[in-house]
């Protein structure tokens, strides 16, 4: 299966995060901080991580998790793990 390009990937990730975090896609700005601006708690963050792993069949290392603080961080991480593998 050919890999998705980054724009496609971003769109899918945004949708996934928006659904789990119950934040509208408009509100979910790339730089908005998950906890402080969007009220995403650690349990939701874990759900987001598990869903990304399942969807893209990858493993997000535990030490990377604390670095995920905004949608942009998610994009960067997925770019690193998914597109460059």
């Amino acid at each position: 299966m050919p890999k998705k390009n980054i724009e496609e990937l971003k769109k899918e990730i945004k949708k996934l995060v928006s659904e789990i975090a119950e934040v509208s896609e408009d509100e979910l700005k790339e730089d908005a901080r998950f906890t402080e601006d969007l009220g995403i708690d650690s349990m939701m963050a874990l759900e987001i991580i598990a869903s990304l792993e399942k969807k893209y069949k990858l493993i997000i290392p535990e030490e990377k998790i604390p670095t995920i603080r905004s949608l942009k961080n998610v994009y960067d991480l997925l770019e690193e793990l998914y597109l460059k593998e």
């Binding site: 650690s42 349990m43 874990l46 759900e47 598990a50 792993e53 535990e62």
Partner: protein
Amino acid sequence: MDETWDINKIQQILPQKYPFLFIDSVIDINKQEKKVACLKNVTINDYFFEGHFPNNPVMPGALIIEAMAQASIILYAVLKPGVAEKHPDYYLGKVEAKFLKPVRVGDQLILEVSGEKILGNAGIVKAQAKVLNEIVAEAEIVFGVKPKE
């Protein structure tokens, strides 16, 4: 089965005690596949039947979830023995559950739990409760694990 768990080990790992201990034995462990199966024998001696309900003993759905959550702690302890042996606090974060059939006196309730994502401080599992190989309830459980201060 990768390791054996007797009732002493179950009681040592689970913070829940009588009359709130809903695991009688661990019947299967597969560390590689991140799965465990536990058993709860449902008997008329279970204290909750006194009120739920008089003359119609049905195991409360909330307690089926509790039994699943306790089986999840067993799974967690199998995968993260170093964390579990220090007796952290386990917090239920989120549960999405479905109940398909009533669980009654005399049933052997099998709780099968598989790990979706297990971390040092949290976990997500999928759980199924079965009686005679039929699914009676299923749930996705998100929980947190926090060392005692």
